[in-house]
Amino acid sequence: MAKPYFPGNVPGIKMAMAVTPEQAAKIIKKAERRILVAGAQLEEVEQAINLADGAIVAAPDTVRQFKEKGASPVVMNKVSITNLLRDASSWKGLDGKGSYDLAIYMGSPYYFESQMLSCLKHFSSCKTIAVSRFYQPNATYSFDNLSEKKWKEALTDLVKFVEE
């Protein structure tokens, strides 16, 4: 079974299902309304855009890059968007059209993202999938720990499968 990248970071009971790019793509495509949540450290802006289905929240640090690539994300730090998502039942989404059932998390410091995912795990009906390099036990689904190279490939594959 997948292990948290930092071994101490075992939440105990409920741990993310580790998924391959193919499985991840299925999960993403099956979602009714998904939202992509990108953190301040995100470098893979293009992939993020391609994974999203319109709804993108980008940390202010990376908005420029998103815009340069033609996307128009909502600017919000990860804490704030997570705070909205935990209120899944009453928050009407970025477009006011309803709640999300899947959030794709990427691009933040490992331990920080872990706490955000933990919030949603416990307090939200919105499922989460973590597609950064390291296994995030507090997500619903997560990539396993991967080498830099393998992860880049996985991300490329994921985008490909999602677009298929």
Partner: protein
């Protein structure tokens, strides 16, 4: 009130078998203080619950649990995942509140025990003393006055204050028992109470030591002293004092001084003890903070280490033994299993330590520590064989398995450093050295059992030698006169804000981020104050002319100034400054008038705390304590591991309604401050958000213009964009920064902005003057 009346029937007396005791009832503290008693003297756990509920209705707790279980009793472990409850009925959400309560209590008691230790010790050893904080500090204990209604005039007046605090701690900790509180907001209210008590404890501790040791009393021109990893002259005997309670360290300094040894012995401190040492004696040196403890230990720099309390590596004795450093434990908080030599002759103890018959000793009488520490260091220094450590050789064992890299939460590429070191190239280790927080987690995982920290430290030696900077000695409280000068511009918003950089160094990037944050706000003429590890890290930078922040910016509490207030317990003076603005500048009643003052600060005083590397339970209670007082706090990304934030929702307009004290009408004032405590993912975000969190409902239009201008400018600078919430902060057209007028006009139009009223804002209905 209950507490206050209670005391009436109560007279404490000695258990009177003490020989030769004279019962002289000193003075009855009758009421020389002419300020009328406010509504909540020595508030009980529930007395300020209404205020807490009001705060937390707007700033709802957000939890990111660390663990799906509860393990606190033998019904457990209980599975709290998926909404399940524990055997006692507790769900994961109140359980988080309980964990937070425990953390805040542990933090609060750390300072409380520190204060109690000092006050008891001073009364016992030097007797009672007047609390005189100098002519410029008439409101000498604002937190204590505010919370308890007591105006302490003598050291012994603190006894009532401490008794009160201890009583509250008792009640609060008991609420963490299985089958007690069940509501998450009530848990948070208790955490807020514990943390308010902490503010009071810190104030007592710092005032006690200021009075006893005549430390700077709000001196903006406190001297500059040496700080840095390079300050220690290793050719001399070295005594290092680790910790946060300078009692025993003063005895080290006294002994060194009296014996005229300052030229021949190095006396240095680590962590807040170091800061407090330099407040006492500017010949003492600051060797760094908690991140560097393990490095000093591993390289055996010190001949003797004294440990007092808090944030000291718990394996200090074990590590010290590796290099033959002697450890002297000096409080009941840290005993390390060492033999208690307090009641044995000092000379005998010195001999045993020098001869290596004991690895250390427990000496509970602070006054004894100086002689033993200094004498042992002097005798031991020539005896200690300093084996040359061959860095290259040690590094050559590395197999590049990279287990170490995986253990490092700061993503330091240790393997790379090892590889380079094998070739005699120490640049990577030197470069990342200050980013290593000294957690030691890389050590046990090394498949080749390499002493990684030792290698890293020795490799960075040359760099370390040059790590010498200047820091301004902790000045203590803010002067009443300073408050008078800046009160108006702060409250009106013309000084855009007070930024307090406090807390621990648990961050990825080393000191440079803290330096940048400080410098950004200093250059924009915010008031910047600092304490603790943050105050230290802020010193670890020089400009091209070799000048650091403390040399470049004056030490006043004023726009564009950098005031190092002191150690962790000096944090109370930051809260105290905010309180004094309400009291001295705005003439609000201070005495036992907590809610009104907190309401004042929340709505008017643009102060923000940044605890960029907050790690400890103390940091948790310090932050939560100022939160109750209406001051927002930003922690770094790792602060998310505290598991709880208090977040506002700027998308819900109804959350931002206040009373207009002038007529009782309800007015929507916009999301200021937006959050009470939140973790920021990046330094850039923190800077921009700090500027925004300075915005307060009471800002004059001129003030709001200035604050908005900074916010917008910083946002543009760091993110290349206008922020998307400007329209929420423009109440009337006169709030619009002139330079940005056109853009903002457009933004307002796009957002269907409507002009709003600027009220005399309050959350307390009872403060409404008329209807």
């Amino acid at each position: 009130m209950k507490r206050a009346t209670m005391k009436a029937d109560e007279v404490h007396t000695p258990t009177a078998t003490i020989k030769g005791l004279e019962i002289s009832i000193g003075k009855i503290i009758d009421d020389e203080w002419d300020e009328k008693m406010g509504p909540t003297p020595m508030p009980s756990v529930t007395d300020l619950r209404g205020w807490d509920f009001r705060l937390l209705e707007r700033y709802k707790p957000f939890y990111g649990p660390f663990c799906d279980s509860c393990c606190l009793c033998t019904y457990g472990k209980c599975d709290l995942s998926d909404g399940k409850k524990g055997a006692c009925g507790l769900g994961i959400e109140p359980q988080q509140g309980r964990i937070i309560l425990l953390a805040c209590l542990i933090g609060s008691t750390a300072h409380g025990a520190h204060a109690r230790h000092m006050v008891d010790h001073f009364l016992e050893t030097v007797g009672d003393m007047d609390i005189d904080m100098g002519d410029n500090v008439q409101v000498e204990a604002p937190v204590t006055r505010l919370v308890t209604g007591i105006r302490p005039r003598r050291m012994s007046d603190f006894l009532d204050v401490l008794d009160y605090g201890e009583r509250e701690i008792l009640h609060l900790l008991s609420a963490a028992h299985t089958g007690q509180e069940g509501n998450v907001i009530d848990f948070e209210s208790k955490a807020l109470h514990a943390s308010m008590i902490d503010q009071m404890f810190m104030e007592v501790a710092d005032i006690a030591q200021i009075v006893r040791y005549d430390l700077p009393k709000g001196d903006p021109e406190a001297p500059l002293v040496e700080i840095g990893l390079g300050v220690i002259d290793r050719t001399k005997p070295v005594v290092m004092c680790f910790g946060h309670n300078a009692l025993s360290a003063t005895s080290v300094m006294d002994y060194t001084n009296i014996k005229g040894l300052y030229d021949s012995v190095e006396v240095a401190g680590v962590c807040c003890t170091a800061l407090d040492m330099t407040r006492y004696e500017s010949r003492a040196k600051i060797a760094g903070h908690i991140s560097h403890q393990i490095k000093y230990l591993k390289t055996g720099v010190a001949d003797v280490i004294t440990v007092d309390e808090q944030c000291i590596r718990t394996d200090t004795l074990e590590l010290a033994q590796e290099t033959g450093t002697v450890v002297i434990a000096t409080t009941d908080k840290i005993c390390y299993g060492l033999p208690d030599r307090t009641h044995e002759p000092a000379q005998e103890t010195i001999d045993l330590l020098v001869e290596g018959k004991l690895p250390g000793a427990l000496i509970l009488e602070p006054e004894m520590v100086g002689e033993i520490a200094v004498e042992v260091a002097m005798k031991l220094h020539p005896k200690r064989k300093k084996k040359r450590f061959d860095v290259k050789k040690a590094a050559s064992a590395c197999s590049q398995c990279k287990q170490c890299n995986k253990a490092c939460e700061n993503f330091i590429d240790i393997a790379r450093g090892m590889k380079e070191a094998q070739e005699g190239n120490y640049s990577y280790f030197s470069e990342i050295f200050m980013r290593c927080i000294g957690c030691g987690r890389c050590l046990p995982v090394c498949s080749k059992n390499i002493d990684i920290i030792r290698v890293m430290t020795e490799a960075a030696k040359e760099k370390i030698m040059n790590e010498k900077y200047k820091i301004r000695v902790g000045r203590g409280p803010i002067q009443d006169t300073e408050i008078r000068n800046v009160g108006q511009p702060i409250v009106m918003g013309e000084i855009p804000g007070v930024i307090a950089l406090v807390g621990c160094p648990n961050y990825e990037e080393g000191p440079e981020e803290v330096v940048e944050i400080a410098k950004t706000f200093l250059d924009r003429r915010y008031i910047v104050v600092a304490t603790g590890c943050a105050a230290m890290d802020m010193a670890m930078w020089k400009n091209e002319e070799g000048k650091g922040l403390y040399e470049l910016y004056p030490g006043r509490f004023d726009a564009g100034c950098l005031a190092n207030v002191g150690s962790c317990v000096s944090n109370a003076h930051i809260a105290g400054a905010a309180i004094k603005i309400a009291s001295i500048f705005a003439h609000r009643d201070l005495r036992a008038n907590y809610e009104e003052i907190a309401d004042y600060i929340l709505n008017r005083v643009g102060a923000v705390g940044i605890a960029w590397g907050a790690m400890s339970q103390k940091a948790a209670s310090i932050a939560t304590g100022v939160n109750r007082l209406g001051i927002p706090v930003i922690v770094g990304a790792r602060g998310a591991k505290y598991r709880r934030m208090y977040l506002g929702r700027k998308d819900i307009p109804e959350d931002w309604i206040v009373y207009n004290a002038r007529d009782g009408s309800k007015v929507q004032v916009g999301p200021g401050p937006e959050h009470l405590i939140y973790a920021s993912e990046s330094k850039e975000e923190a800077i921009v958000t700090a500027a925004k969190l300075c915005i307060r409902p009471n800002d004059t239009s001129k003030g709001r213009q200035i604050k908005l201008a900074h916010y917008i400018d910083l946002h543009k600078r760091y993110f290349g964009e206008y922020p998307d919430d400007i329209h929420l902060y423009v109440r009337t057209r006169s709030d619009i920064p002139i330079t940005e007028k056109d853009t903002i006009d457009r933004i307002l139009k796009e957002n269907n902005w409507e002009e709003k009223q600027i009220p005399d804002p309050t959350l307390l209905e009872r403060l409404v003057r008329r209807r």
